[in-house]
Amino acid sequence: MYNFEFSKPSNIADAVAALSSDEAQALGGGQTLLPTMKQRLAQTDMLVSLTGIGEMQGICVGDNGELCIGGATTHAAVAADGNYPGLASLAGRIGDPAVRNRGTIGGSLANNDPSACYPAAALASGATIKTNARDIAADDYFQGMFETALEEGEIITEVRFPIPEVSNYQKFVQPASRFALVGVFVAKFADDVRVAVTGASSDGVFRWAEAEAALSADFSKAAVDALAVPSGDMISDLHGTAEYRAHLAKVMTGRAVAAAC
């Protein structure tokens, strides 16, 4: 690790100020950033920890029925919350207990790892990513592998999830890392169904429109049986070919629907 300064502000305004310098970087749970720094693949002059900011902690149900999760809330806290079972179940399967007790939803969404779990939930739920500056719809937020709509120094302060009628996340793990080789989050709302696939595409998390249309008409596993995800944009690596990932996306979608029914 290279040397750096460290600050731990107690409110969002101070954090934003601390992050205004070019070489400053936000620190959530450090589960991604710190290993990268230890390997000297990332370097920063100033780490600004967000975990001491009270207004970025905790979970509540808002007036409009949305689940509001502070940006610095840990995976473990989300896993323990009973309001949105599909999301809690997803959070409870991220990494191991140490990762869940440290890692944060804001850190995960800011990082937008193509194999991460939360992006699937956020996209399938139609969540709103609230930052210190604005509200960003999930549909506009994810912009490809490790790419998001966040500007330099912008902090995710809260994530708001509309709670679906039923939902399920199917995670087929990459055997080594146990991130999602392919993960599918299916969320059924009163008037539509949203399906988001993570781990599979070289463009990062995506919505599978064909399945959404089919499932909105008939929310059953059979509805996806006849569909196929094109393998053209899928990732191909040691752990799975593009064809395999495309196939898994369909299988996991079917399983998610079956489990949600």
Partner: protein, 788 residues
């Protein structure tokens, strides 16, 4: 009644108290006054000309003590290879130089180019980043078959090609083998890969070099399985330090699996630099470095053919293997695909004609050497896979086909140069069948099918050669060392014992099982016996621990030394009891005279030895300390039968192991609990190889599986509850304990039954074109196989 102490008792592992409470003392726990730290600058290209290494800016960085490059090692020896293989034309293998730091060329990602010694680790690393390299990249040699084509880029320019050797075994057998194939009624052919593995001991490698200018003594603290071997190789071949001026200490070591047998450049560097810098120099490998510097294992590509006659008797085996050596020859690398592999090609079966061809190949990859099982898993995997395939082709039961061909009479001289002293393959197979409820398989398969899963059963046998090894024999085979083992038993005045052994424990529990043996022989409590190992300064010259040799060879040395102690103690006791020596018996820690009530305690005799007031000084010396060296006269041959049941998810290709049973014959067993633990660990590694682990390079020689994000180590939930049994025992006929060794069996015996089970599951589900899937059987591969 199970015994509660001594040989055969499941005594608790005494070393675990310190390991589990954080009191172990590992090499990284050793910090010497004034120590500096080294960081190695390693090549990030697989193959290139080293045009220049400019250290000037780096040398001026804070904390830098000194920077070394290949130039500092001109005139210093290279890291030697400990085994010379002679090829099928009678020529010695090609043996490239292996400098401590790269000279002229880099040959794999991870090859050490320069070493920065600095006050702190961070400073050393900072300065290493400031070294300017000019490397002209060359095409990387990665694929073995391409590497030996005419005109292929050479890894070593001074060798004639990338072929280390082309070995034929037994060359004289070849015509008879070819004739057997011509006469065969059926020939089964299988091409397969034995995947490359990263050893991944929990403790990464560490080396601390120390030099005493007052005495001109050098000391190396290192994570080694065999400190005497390191002292010999490094002292004599690399640094020119005589053994009496060099001490090598391998304290608590957190696992090795073979990877800590070898002499590595970092050990030589730290010892050299400590003298050059006049201060201790320490290196601690990071896990990332371990992936690119610890010798890898396996990496064979093989074609095997099995010939059968009209009655399904095996009549011939012919194999053609490419074995990856990596960029340099690691210490025992040449022996693994040859003498540790070809000699086991008979397996448990009486095949009269066997010919093994092995081409060892240099590539721009990490050196490959022995890894748990070393050669024997490769032999077992080929044989047990091809037999399963043959059974399927012939429409016969795979277990019956094995049984019908079992060797049943011992000693049995195989056509591949070894003689099995004893065994009972039918015995372990019968035991296995008792364990696995084969009759219930169909019902279990139907139950799986109801849950949408494909169930399969795989069985295999294995044999291994352990207790390595008779020195005279391995000398003929090219070993540049003897492979005896040693023990010194020092009895203290008050009766306690210290046993100093050349074997080394790095997780095996020697401190417990060795003490059981010695305590049992004398009849004293185990806690009266202390086992000392790992320091060349206080143990007799020994060859260390690998090849499941420690109890069979090291334990036998200990028995011999203890027998000498008992013989001398009897003389002293005879004197004390005024009896004839021949009438003295030792039982339960007391000497008595047959037919009388005369008795003298062990402690009285040991005290007399050191306080010789009433002592036959004219006949025997005072003191009670004996040394024995034991050189075995054959290998030992543990063997067994394993079975695995799997469920395959047809939608995803994921394999779940439902059950795994292992019936082993280890001969006599000293500590059943430790033996079971060794089998469990071996099975986990074997299942890891079969389903999960894979070192993968891209075509440019970049390591793709360079961290745990991509290299899949088995986790607890990847393996089932194991059923293990070692009640079939045919004691080894030629060592005093009748033991065979158990350390590698699990890793050797388990991969074929896993693959056999998966192929069985797919075949039963109608995927009749799937006759083989290469390891690891990851979901993506199994799914692809099912797509046709």
């Amino acid at each position: 009644m199970p015994k509660d102490h001594g040989i055969g008792a499941s005594s608790k592992r005494r070393e675990d108290v310190r390991f589990l409470t954080g009191q172990g003392r590992y090499t990284d726990d050793i910090n010497l006054q004034g120590q500096a730290y080294v960081h190695f600058l390693r090549s990030d290209v697989a193959h290139g000309m080293l045009k220049s290494v400019d250290t000037s800016a780096a040398a001026a960085m804070p904390g830098v003590v000194r920077i070394f490059t290949g130039a500092d090692f001109e005139g210093v020896g290279g890291v030697p290879c400990g085994w010379q293989v002679t090829d099928k034309h009678g020529e010695p293998m090609q043996e490239p130089a292996h400098p401590v730091l790269a000279q002229g060329k880099v040959r794999y990602v991870g090859d050490a180019i320069a070493a920065v010694v600095a006050e702190t680790k961070e400073q050393a690393r900072n300065a290493a980043e400031a070294i300017e390299l000019d490397i002209e990249e060359l095409p990387a040699v990665v694929d073995m078959k391409a590497a030996v084509q005419e005109g292929a880029t050479k890894v070593h320019d001074d060798l004639t090609s990338n072929l280390c050797y082309d070995w034929g075994f037994v060359e004289e057998n070849k015509p008879a083998v070819d004739a057997a194939f011509e006469a065969a009624t059926h020939v089964t052919t299988l091409e397969l890969v034995n995947n490359r593995l990263s050893p991944n001991p929990m403790e990464p490698r560490v080396a601390v070099g120390d030099y005493n200018p007052g005495t001109d003594d050098s000391t190396l603290y290192t994570t080694s399985q065999n400190p005497h071997v390191i002292r010999l190789l490094m002292g004599a071949f690399v640094l020119g330090i005589p053994e009496h001026k060099l001490r090598v200490v391998a304290p608590d070591v957190g696992g090795g699996f073979g990877s800590k047998i070898f002499h590595y450049v970092e050990e030589a560097f730290c010892t050299f630099a400590a003298k050059a810098c006049r201060r201790p120099v320490k290196w601690t490998s990071s896990r990332s470095e371990a992936f690119v510097t610890d010798a890898h294992g396996r990496d064979h590509v093989t074609k095997i053919e099995l010939a059968l006659d009209a009655d399904n008797n095996f009549t011939g085996i012919r194999t053609d293997t490419y074995a990856n050596m990596g960029a340099y020859l690691s210490t025992f690398a040449p022996s693994v695909p040859t003498w540790l592999h070809g000699t086991l090609m008979a397996g448990n079966y009486k095949t009269p004609n066997i010919y093994v061809n092995v081409k060892a190949v240099f590539t721009n990859t990490v050196p490959v050497d022995a890894y748990r099982g070393a050669g024997r898993p490769e032999a077992t995997f080929q044989l047990e896979r091809v037999i399963d395939k043959a059974a399927r082709e012939l429409g016969v039961d795979p277990i019956e086909l094995r049984r019908q061909n079992f060797i049943t009479e011992f000693p049995y001289a195989t056509p591949v140069a070894v003689e099995y002293d004893t065994g009972d393959y039918e015995g372990t197979m019968t035991k296995l069948l008792e364990m696995i409820d084969r009759d219930g398989f169909e019902a279990r398969r139907e139950e799986s099918a109801r849950n949408g899963k494909l169930r399969g059963l795989g069985v295999n046998c294995y044999i291994e050669a352990c207790g390595i090894a008779p020195s005279a024999l391995v000398g003929q085979l090219g070993a540049r060392a003897g492979l005896y083992e040693s023990a010194t038993v020092r009895v203290n005045a008050t009766g306690g014992l210290v046993v100093m052994t050349g074997s080394h424990s790095h997780g095996q529990g020697h401190e417990t099982s060795f003490a059981q043996v010695v305590a049992d022989m004398i009849g004293i409590p185990e806690d009266q016996v202390e086992i000392v190992h790992g320091d060349t300064a206080n143990t007799p010259m020994g060859m260390g621990t690998y090849g499941s040799r420690s109890i069979a060879v090291g334990g036998s040395a200990m028995v011999r030394a203890t027998e000498k102690i008992i013989a001398k103690a009897k003389k002293i006791a005879a004197h004390l009891m005024e009896a004839a020596e021949g009438d003295v018996e030792l039982k339960d820690g007391a000497f008595s005279v047959a037919g009388t009530d005369k008795s003298v305690a062990w402690g009285d005799v040991t005290l007399a030895a050191y306080v010789p007031h009433n002592y036959p000084l004219e006949e025997i010396e005072p003191g009670l300390e004996e040394t024995a060296f034991y050189d075995p006269n054959n290998f030992t041959y543990p063997a067994g039968a394993y079975a695995c049941e799997v469920e395959v998810d047809p939608d995803t290709g994921k394999v779940d192991i439902c059950s795994f049973a292992a019936a082993d014959d280890f001969g006599n067993v000293i500590n059943p609990m430790i033996v079971e633990g060794q089998v469990h660990g071996g099975l986990a590694q074997g299942i890891g190889q079969a389903l999960l682990e894979n070192v993968s390079y891209d075509e440019n020689g970049q390591l793709l599986s360079a961290s745990y994000m991509d290299y899949t180590m088995p986790r607890a939930d990847d393996v089932p509850n194991f059923q293990v049994d070692h009640s079939s025992q045919t004691p080894c006929t030629h060592n005093p304990l009748g033991v065979k060794g158990c350390g590698e069996a699990g890793a050797i015996g388990s991969p074929p039954s896993v693959v056999n089970a998966v192929v069985d599951a797919l075949q039963r589900a109608g995927h009749t074109n799937v006759t083989h899937i290469d390891m690891p059987l990851t979901p993506t591969r199994v799914w692809a196989a099912m797509q046709g």
